[in-house]
């Protein structure tokens, strides 16, 4: 499958943290044709294994990109059928007003988010954010009708279709971190044409947005020699400090800091330079807010790397990525994996 199509399927779909199963078939069927084994663990992580060149004691490299996305949850149904809701994962309430949503009950219902109208607000209120608790979802049905389909606790997705902007840029919701899944998918396709030693685990993790929970269990299960998280990094915009961001279209950020194994990182940089793959440096001194954090401290500790795909307007429904960055991330991952062998790993890990 073309990676643009795959990204479209993933971002237009729904996989709110804890409810990722809606994408299981899409992800499994895409990876399946390239893998030796694929299974779903107790928490819902999709683990796809692609074996390396035949030997008995293959080392294990695990990649993780999270399949979950932020969303909302039904809290209460008003007397006139309006829904009150709360958030799952980090959502700026300012991004919610006027959005279209899908409420996932025993059937999917379309709705729109509204609030107190301007004419009933004090002038001073107009400069204040409307709080999430003052917003409602209008499903267009009476309470009796809503209750037939919707329960408290049902999850809600912001409705947004992937759309092409200029050049190679695309906009949509939840490109954090469906872009990472697509980069893994492109990587597995690349690896199919390459010689490499390691057994590679492509893990679509669950519940990253609420605390990397899927990464903990999948890493425990796989117990890899190297863990690589593929997530998104803050794309540069004028209001953000330059040092906190990555430029769009200039390659993935290779994270540097305490969460990252310095020897492996050096190898990643060397490979990028050797194959002329553009990259940027992302400096995170402490734990990254990605699956790399969970991987690093699993079992007796795992040497970890993190690649960040530049993404603008993170956690809004109009995130932007550049397809060139996704492709370069995939390429870098594939060449990196091919460069790791039983022979050189010990040296790379040496402090």
């Amino acid at each position: 499958m073309d990676i643009n199509n795959f990204l479209e399927i993933l971002t237009n779909g729904s996989s709110i943290s804890g409810h990722e199963y809606r994408l299981n078939d899409k992800i499994s069927s895409a990876f399946k044709i390239y893998t030796d084994d694929i299974y779903i663990d107790n928490l819902g992580n999709i683990i796809a294994l692609k074996k390396g060149r035949n030997n008995d004691s293959n080392l294990k490299i695990m990649m993780a990109a999270h399949m979950d996305e932020i969303g909302l949850m039904v809290k209460y149904i008003e007397d006139n059928g309006f829904i009150k809701f709360t958030n799952i994962g980090g959502i700026d309430p300012r991004t919610l007003l006027g959005q279209e949503v899908i409420v996932h009950g025993n059937r999917d219902l379309y709705g729109v988010i509204g609030s107190k109208p301007p004419h009933l607000q004090e002038a001073s209120e107009m400069n204040k954010t409307i709080k999430m608790e003052d917003m409602i979802i209008d499903l267009g049905y009476s309470k009796e009708e809503v209750e037939k389909y919707i329960n408290i606790g049902d999850v809600i997705t912001i409705k947004r279709k992937l759309r092409a902007l200029q050049g190679k840029r695309l906009t949509g919701k939840a490109l954090d971190d469906k872009s990472g899944i697509v980069a893994m998918y492109e990587c597995i396709k690349e690896l199919s044409k390459m010689e490499y030693e390691a057994d590679v685990y492509f893990v679509s993790t669950v519940q990253e947005e609420v605390g990397m929970r899927g990464a903990y269990t999948s890493t425990f299960d796989i117990n890899p020699d190297i863990g690589i998280s593929i997530d998104v990094g803050f794309g540069s915009t004028p209001e953000l400090p330059k040092e906190d961001t990555l430029d769009m279209g200039k390659g993935p950020g290779i994270t540097l800091g305490g969460n990252i194994h310095p020897g492996l990182r050096q190898q990643m940089v060397t490979i990028a330079e050797e194959y002329n793959i553009p990259f940027q440096t992302e400096v995170t001194p402490g734990p990254t807010g990605t699956d790399a954090r969970a991987m690093q401290i699993t079992r007796s500790g795992i040497p970890t790397l993190c690649l960040s795909i530049p993404l603008r307007y993170m956690h809004t429904s109009v995130e932007i990525v550049d397809m060139r960055d996704i492709k370069n991330t995939a390429k870098l991952l594939a060449f990196f994996i091919a460069s790791i062998s039983n022979e050189n790993l010990e040296g790379l890990l040496c402090y």
Partner: protein, 339 residues
């Protein structure tokens, strides 16, 4: 569906051409005289029985939106609103820019890089910009010009029980009603006027009323609706699904009481549900029309719209149908000379 075509077209105040063209195409052959005046208002006359009183029915064509004011070195586009827009609805929305409808998005700073206090303040227009996916001013200027109009990218959706979501329901709903009544009525002489630039100060209505010089005017509108359970009943301007709303007063007009009473009676005699528009906020073309020349008797009949002036306005087909029935019944009375 006509309303789908009308709401998905772009017609920001001062740039109504796309909507005007749809209207002209729709009414062609159904009216006896079409004139586009110097401001862009469409003034049509339908021949029929002569009456001592001249009737004009109006709907404004324009919608609120944005306009490009600058393109910065990074190719990001600055804008200001055209008409009354709550700036808080702009964040995290797709838009379409200019004649070629170049897609763009209004993003915002990632939540991760904000301090919690920042959430409490609404983002100002000066903090927002549109990203079309380019990196330089040069690239952007090949596609976008300063002064290009920007509309919300929002499609027409039917949902729930009889509801419609769309942008620009204020006032494509009025345009749709007027188009349909122009197409369906026979032998009743009246003027239909599609006005420009209502949202930026009732600009088109005055000159249109001046040239038509009517005795009576019915203004068709989409009006605000906020019907949540928690607020006091008297603060609810209109309800969805309770029929067309008949205006009492707003910021621009004290609507004629006698005409209102006649219309209520017509509604009641024909068993058409109706409600009063119970807020003095807002205003519409009637403000300029009722003070035109030696004065015009006016009324406003509106279809209630939740989330008005946003990309996701919501109305009920039931209210639309009843607004249409009422309009038809009023014309019937007018034909008898009873208005």
């Amino acid at each position: 569906m006509l309303l789908k075509k009308l709401t998905e077209a772009s017609g920001i105040s001062g740039n109504e051409k796309e909507v005007r063209d749809i209207i002209l195409d729709e009414i062609k052959g159904y009216v006896d005289n079409i004139k586009i005046d110097k401001l862009g208002n469409v003034i049509v006359y339908k021949e029929g029985k002569n009456h001592s009183k001249k009737l004009m029915i109006t709907a404004h064509m324009d919608e609120v939106g944005l306009i490009v004011t600058n393109i910065d070195a990074l190719g990001l586009i600055k804008f200001v609103p055209v008409g009354g827009i709550d700036k808080r609805i702009l964040v995290s929305k797709p838009v379409l820019i200019g004649k070629n409808k170049i897609p763009g998005v209004i993003g915002s700073k990632p939540i991760h890089l904000q301090k919690k206090e920042e959430w409490e303040d609404a983002l100002g227009i000066d903090q927002l910009y549109i990203d079309i996916g380019v990196d330089t001013e040069e690239e952007a200027k090949k596609l976008i010009n300063i002064g290009d109009y920007i509309s919300f990218d929002s499609d027409f959706v039917e949902f729930g029980e009889n509801l419609i979501k769309a942008k620009a329901l204020d006032n494509r709903v009025g345009c749709s009603l007027l188009i349909e009544i122009l197409k369906e009525t026979k032998d009743i002489g009246f003027y239909g006027v599609f006005t420009v630039m209502e949202e930026i100060g009732l600009v088109g209505a005055g000159p249109a009323a001046y040239s038509v010089d009517p005795d009576i005017c019915i203004v068709l509108e989409g009006t605000l609706c906020y019907d949540v359970p928690q607020i006091d009943k008297h603060l609810i301007p209109t309800y969805l699904n309770k029929g067309p709303a008949i205006s009492l007063m707003d910021r621009t007009t004290l609507f004629d009481t006698n005409l209102r009473k006649k219309i209520i009676k017509i509604a009641e005699n024909n068993k058409i549900p109706y409600q009063y528009r119970k807020t003095a906020m807002g205003g519409n073309d009637s403000g300029k029309i009722h003070t035109s020349k030696d004065g015009v008797i006016t009324t406003t009949i509106s279809v209630p719209c939740r989330n008005i002036h946003s990309p996701t306005s919501v109305m009920s087909k039931y209210d639309y149908e009843n607004a249409y029935k009422l309009l038809k019944a009023i014309l019937f009375e007018y034909e008898k000379g009873a208005l």
